[in-house]
Amino acid sequence: MSEIYDIGYRHYDGVRLGRGHSTRALAVHSLRGIFGLGRPARSKIVPFSLAAIMMLPAVVNIAMMALLQQRGIAYSGFAVVMQAVVAIFLAAQAPTAVAPDLRHRVLPLYLSRPVSITEYVGAKVAAMTVAVFALIAVPITLIYVGELVVDMPGPPATGEYLGALLMALVLAVLLSAFGLALASFTPRRGLGVASVITVYLLSSASVPIIYATLASTGDEAGAAWAWLANPFWLVDSVQHWLFGTPPHSIEGDYPSGPVSALLVVVLIGVALLGLALRYRKAAAR
């Protein structure tokens, strides 16, 4: 630890907790900010009401299992069915994680301490990932607990549940890397929200139309590639390939093979690279 000036103040002689600790502290702080904890009540309304909306189908599912002895939404299809809510959460909260630091130009302050750009970006992505993962995983887990308590006929769908959890994690990494990369291009929160949701809506509104057009020419296999342009269906196709769950696209199948998994890895890499480059530039201002 270097001192620029020693003007006679008392030195810090406590424990030096190191870089890992500072990165973790930054991640926890960002995570709390995403859910509005430690901020005024107005900042809590949006994240918590979206989380409550995510819980609604879980409650309905448990009620269906208890009263009608039948399953509602499958674990594997939960994220795809609720994609609009997850996307709104990502769009609304990703800018709160990155915009204030860019806006108030405090990055040089962070980086003058032993926190490097990699650690800063890593902490932000980790916080957003945990938030999105919790948003998807908590309702799924609730349904699973409900299934165990209700004691449905037949064995519980443990395998499908665990697979859905793993895919929720992959989806969370993909979404947060992309969401933060888009949001970090502007120091304005409103514009960040708008740009994330625009990119999501472009993929979600156009993909079914493109699929239907291509399929109408008779090329079903070629048309299936259209689904991979939307992150939720892309991750669902990885799940379909890994665990053999039924595809949750609106209609038709996914392209077979590991291409979609490869695409996910490439996309995450591109988004993280974009973030790192963006912050290298932002840090210099």
Binding site: L191, T198, T217
Partner: protein
């Protein structure tokens, strides 16, 4: 209408990255229309599907949100609105000017691309292209007014606007027919329905309800926004 304020607002909206967002959706709409044309689906059913679901259903609320909040929210965020408000310009006039700027941008970035994509698919058949263009224009003006008001009332304008457009208009409106009565995009569709006689398109809201509703919402939003700005207090960010 104050031309200097209008000029500043145009520069702020078109001179920065915001214009990329404003261009992205209309280009996607025209791209989809070209795709349909190439794959030989240029019939009335696809044209109506594209214009109803993508142009009015997805593109218009988002563009309305970006333009409507974009004319005023960044200035409030940055605090530069204080320079504008300390000038001897009536605040309702500032709001009306900014509303006109947002409405003109929506006409350029929403109504014109809607007409172009409709024309690409079915040319002038049954007035589909013209009808949807007018519907988009009218609904866009109402969106501009409402989201301008939202941008003055709250700092979470974009998030609230997205929740309104996606959850209320799309999700709830698709499930509960009664909710469509209180949705700007369905009022726009009602206008579009009046101008086309395509058998593939039928709107759920009657014209007798849509026209007064559009007028009332637009005028009330602009007036209220002007009133809010008259007694505006700059509060600190959270």
């Amino acid at each position: 209408m104050n031309t200097v304020v209008a000029g500043i607002t145009y520069r702020a909206l078109l001179g920065r990255r915001r214009i990329i967002l404003l261009l992205l959706l209309p280009l996607a709409l025209i791209g989809l229309a070209v795709l349909f044309r190439v794959f030989g689906n240029g019939d009335q059913r696809t044209a109506v599907l594209l214009l109803q679901n993508f142009a009015i259903g997805t593109m218009l609320p988002l563009l309305g949100l970006i333009a409507g909040t974009g004319v005023i929210a960044p200035e409030i965020d940055d605090g530069t609105i204080i320079h504008l408000m300390s000038k001897p310009i009536s605040r309702p006039v500032i709001v009306q000017t900014k509303f006109l700027v947002a409405a003109s941008l929506l006409a350029l970035f929403a109504a014109v691309p809607t007409y172009v994509s409709g024309w690409l698919l079915v040319r002038g058949e049954d007035g589909i292209a013209a009808g949807f263009a007018v519907g988009t224009l009218v609904a866009g003006i109402a969106y501009a007014a409402v989201f301008l008001l939202l941008g003055i009332v709250t700092r979470h304008a974009v998030t609230i606007g997205i929740v309104y457009a996606l959850v209320w208009e799309s999700l709830v409106g698709n499930l509960i027919p009664g909710a469509r009565k209180f949705s700007i995009q369905h009022w726009g569709q009602s206008i579009a329905d009046q101008l086309t006689d395509s058998p593939f398109f039928k709107s759920d809201v009657t014209l007798g309800f849509a026209v007064p509703a559009l007028l009332a919402v637009t005028v009330a939003a602009v007036l209220w926004a002007g009133h809010r700005l008259r007694s505006f207090s700059l509060t600190g960010d959270e």
